[in-house]
């Protein structure tokens, strides 16, 4: 498969709650970051892409295949790697056993080849030393890497990662970025995250989901550019800004319509994202801080 996901008019409700509202987005090979506040619908959209949930309306196409028949589902899932926020580990399994179990569920029949693949992904996430340790004895970061490792099995065409760097220390986060940078060209990687740094560092595309809709779909540079001429710094707070906070230098950074004579600075992806989310500035300010 070529790593193309096309989402068209997807709507999903839970009871009376509209979670996704006519979402359409195309995702191609490369790393796509999915940003959005809590409750925006990122996880639901990811679950629909992972064929865990069926949309109420709309469709999802994986290259030329839509998950409308058992056979098609089988084919799609055979090319899918998914790391949910919480995989639900079996505490008595070792890291190796758990990933081997998932490998079996991915129809890796040949025992020797499967074990080689399991060792490969364990090595990729740097868990060689604890491969035969029970999962219950792992730290939170190690478990997260275990979750990522199982998703990497078989180098799937579609790799969906929900908050993959949450709980990782800086070194591991860099390692993770290095790992994703070694992906195959045909792979479509979707990264649902709150970490704008990860998106900046890794993603060729970014999709911002807010209140069940796609608020932005473009490159990180385009998202950052959306704040061009709207980010400035000053010594004091400026109440006219949509968002304002004090940075590490002791100066205040503002996003919004700059006052006359303001010192404009180069916007970042985070600035663009925050400007997009600016309507709920207090919450987002707290989240970023």
């Amino acid at each position: 498969m070529n790593g193309n996901i096309e989402i068209t008019g997807v709507t999903k409700t839970y009871g009376k709650t509209l979670v996704l509202d006519d979402v359409s987005v195309k995702i191609g090979p490369g790393v796509t970051g999915m940003l959005g506040p809590n409750g925006a619908g990122k996880t639901t959209l990811l679950r629909i892409m992972a064929t865990v949930l069926a949309p109420d309306s709309g469709s999802v196409r994986f290259d030329d295949t839509t998950p409308t028949s058992p056979k098609a589902l089988h084919d799609i899932r055979s090319n899918l790697g998914y790391a949910p926020q919480e995989p639900g580990f079996y505490p008595n399994f070792t890291v190796f056993d758990f990933i081997d179990y998932v490998a079996i569920l991915k129809e890796m029949d040949d025992r020797r080849a499967r074990h080689d693949e399991v060792r490969r992904v364990i090595s990729l996430v740097g868990l060689d030393d604890v491969a035969h340790r029970a999962i219950r004895k792992l730290s939170g970061g190690m478990r997260r890497r275990t979750a990522v490792a199982q998703a990497l099995l078989g180098s799937p065409s579609f790799l969906l990662l929900d908050e993959p760097t949450a709980g990782l220390d800086p070194e591991q986060r860099l390692r993770f970025r290095s790992l994703l940078s070694q992906r195959d060209d045909h792979q479509a990687v979707v990264l649902a995250t709150h970490q704008t740094e990860d998106v900046t560092a890794l993603c060729q595309n970014v999709v911002v989901v807010d209140q069940g809709k796609v608020g932005f779909n473009g490159t990180p540079v385009e998202l950052a550019s959306s704040a061009e001429g709207r980010v400035w710094v000053s010594k004091g707070a400026d109440n006219t800004a949509v968002l304002t906070w004090m940075d590490g230098t002791g100066r205040h950074r503002h996003i919004g319509n700059p006052p006359p004579g303001a010192e404009l600075v180069e916007p970042t992806l985070e600035d663009g994202y925050l400007l997009l989310m600016g309507r709920d500035s207090r919450v987002e300010t707290e989240a970023v801080a």
Binding site: V19, T51, L53, S69, P70, P91, D100, V102, E107, M108
Partner: protein, 625 residues
């Protein structure tokens, strides 16, 4: 008492331990994320069920699940208390006859193992739900339906453990030296079906009632069903999981009903719960076919087990009862032949001991030519005989007044053991062989011929005007105070050490209870008969207490000299002209009278066991001469 305290206590402790164990890792349960978790299911999306995978892809999963199932502690926790109690049975209780108690061994080993397998397979099937990994697993190509199949097939991994358990019980029993015979293959084969059925039930419960507590509920439900089916009317007893209902009271080796059908019933049950488990992932034509096939198998096997005996089968049944030689294996000895059902073949050498002991004291000229010791089926109140069969049976043919020594199918196993029970059995058999030699009837017999009606099974009670099963109206020979009775008793007493001890014990009890003039018969009917005041064929000829005392006194003398004396007087013993010689005559040959004999018995070494010598109701027939 131990059973009802120890086993539930142990299982409760195991349950609490498993809860504590599970709670320890509770922090690893994936937290609820979003409103979808309210449903707690990622497989409810029927449209997202993937295609079943090929068998080739299923085997690795089966291997993993089998490995997990075998290593799961639940099976061992459940089976340990039952197994320890079973093994202690060998240490602290009496004789175990494998080919009659094999059902019990299956119940006490394979059934707990099956319960443990039920719990283990239930928890393993619920694993993804318990740790909330359904979301991840739902994205893999192997759908839940295929995982269900893997769990079902994985239960077969418990079969080696089943075989080991049964083997362990068998070896322990044999090492205890208190077992006889061999278990029946058809009964043992029920064990693997029970274990696999337990495992499949665990999977089915997990798919339909996905909470671990329901696994334990299933254990309790199956045990309740077990108990109720066992006590149910015979028509429904075949539904019992672990027994061959027809074997419990009827005639396993005579009935033409196919007991093997119970195995097909169990197989049908296994397939049924497997189909129910698969239906938990949705109905398909294959699942419906499996359900229908399983139900059909249960119905057909149930009918085969419980169908009314047809006329032809009843003929066969009756013929086998009247002529047990049709289904027997005979073992030729130098001076006699012993015939038994092939199942009892292992016990024949033990039966032979008292027979050989009696005949070894006799010259070949006085041993009846073609002496046969033969197993015969009991037909009495404790046995359920279909009336259609009873109408074709003449009880006088089943228990005839002939010159064969008969052993009922209830008899014999303690004869293998050198203990007090063996003494009673050996004395009984030895006495009946000796009775035949001296011209007394070896067995009690059915004196009234009856064919074409089943009335002989019951008697009408005057007070309630209802028919009720009664003890068999067997006739016995009363040979009290006859000299040949003393001779027969002496021959029996000297046949084996256990028989000698038993005769002494009897004599001392008679002395102590001052029942020298009361009738005495030799049997151990307290061991069966359901407490009915029944005369049993094995009781043979009835003697007087004084005869027992006299024989016991002679046993204090040198056996060879006593035997020589009897040889000299043999013609008088076996061919009394007019007035038969009396016990006083026999004692007189040794210069003894009854009083002196009593004194000898009183002074002899007391034995450490009591015996039942109570007078019995009896119909006395003509003694042979």
């Amino acid at each position: 008492m131990l059973f009802f305290v120890f086993v539930p206590g142990f299982m409760l402790a195991a349950l609490l331990a498993s809860v504590v164990w599970a709670r320890r890792d509770h922090q690893l349960v994936a937290p609820a994320i979003g409103p979808i978790e309210v449903r707690n299911s990622f497989v409810g999306e029927g449209s997202l069920q993937g295609a079943a995978v090929a068998w080739r892809s299923l085997w690795p999963l089966v291997r993993v699940e089998a490995h997990r199932l075998v290593r799961h502690p639940a099976s061992y926790l459940v089976v340990v208390p039952f197994l320890s109690l079973t093994l202690s049975e060998f240490q602290f209780s009496g004789i175990k006859e494998w080919n009659r108690e094999d059902v019990s061994f299956v119940v006490y080993t394979a059934v707990p193992w099956a319960w443990g397998t039920l719990i283990a397979s239930n928890l393993l099937t619920l694993r993804s739900r318990r740790w909330r990994s359904q979301e991840l697993l739902a994205t893999t190509p192997v759908p839940e339906r295929s995982r269900t199949i893997a769990h079902l097939i994985a239960t077969l991994a418990m079969l080696p453990g089943t075989a080991l358990l049964l083997a362990a019980v068998f070896v322990a029993g044999n090492l205890s030296g208190k077992t006889i015979g061999s278990p029946r293959v058809t009964v043992l084969l029920s064990a693997p079906l029970l274990v696999v059925g337990g495992g499949c039930l665990g999977v089915a419960v997990a798919r339909w009632l996905p909470r671990p507590i329901f696994g334990w509920v299933a254990v309790i439900a199956t045990s309740v069903l077990q108990v109720n089916f066992y006590h149910a009317d015979l028509r429904w007893r075949w539904l019992h999981f672990s027994i061959f209902s027809n074997d419990t009271k009827d005639y396993p080796t005579f009935s033409p009903l196919h007991h093997e059908a119970h195995l097909f019933y169990l197989l049908g049950g296994v397939l049924l719960v497997a189909a129910i488990a698969l239906a938990g992932n949705g109905f398909s034509s294959r699942v419906v076919g499996l359900l229908a096939g399983a139900l059909g198998l249960i119905v057909v096997s149930g009918f085969v087990q419980t169908r009314p005996i047809g006329n032809a089968d009843a003929e066969v049944f009756a013929q086998r009862l009247e002529d047990p030689s049709l289904n027997q294996q005979c073992f030729e000895r130098s001076t006699f032949t012993i015939c038994a059902d092939p199942v009892w073949a292992d016990i024949v050498p033990h039966w032979s001991k008292p027979v050989e002991g009696v005949l070894a004291r006799l010259s070949s000229q006085v041993i009846p030519a073609g002496l046969v010791v033969r197993q015969r089926p009991l037909i009495d109140v404790s046995h359920e005989l279909p009336t259609s069969v009873a109408a074709k049976v003449d009880p006088a043919v089943v228990w005839p007044n002939d010159d064969e020594v008969s052993l009922s199918y209830e008899w014999g196993f303690p004869a293998a053991m050198e203990d007090s029970v063996a003494g009673e059995a050996q004395l009984s058999l030895g006495f009946r062989v000796a009775s035949l030699v001296v011209g007394l009837p070896p067995d009690a017999w059915w004196s009234e011929s009856s064919r074409g009606t089943a009335d002989w099974l019951t008697v009408r009670l005057a007070d309630s005007d209802t028919n009720q099963a009664v003890a068999s109206p067997l006739s016995q020979c009363l040979a009290g105070t006859e000299g040949r009775a003393v001779v027969a008793l002496w021959l029996a007493g000297q046949s084996t050490p256990a028989a000698r001890g038993q005769l002494h014990s009897r004599a001392q009890s008679i002395q102590a209870s001052k029942t020298l003039n009361s009738p005495v018969s030799f049997d151990w009917s307290w061991n069966y008969g359901g407490g009915f005041p029944d005369v049993l064929p094995e009781q043979g000829t009835v003697v007087n207490g004084s005869d027992v005392v006299g024989a016991s006194a002679l046993l204090q003398r040198d056996d060879a000299s006593v035997a020589a004396m009897f040889q000299r007087h043999w013609a008088e013993i076996v061919a009394p002209a007019g007035q038969p010689i009396t016990d006083k005559d026999v004692l007189g040959w040794f210069g003894l009278d009854t009083k002196q004999a009593s004194a000898i018995v009183t002074k002899s070494t007391p034995k450490d066991h009591e015996s039942d010598i109570g007078p019995r109701p009896a119909v006395f027939g003509t003694c042979l001469t």
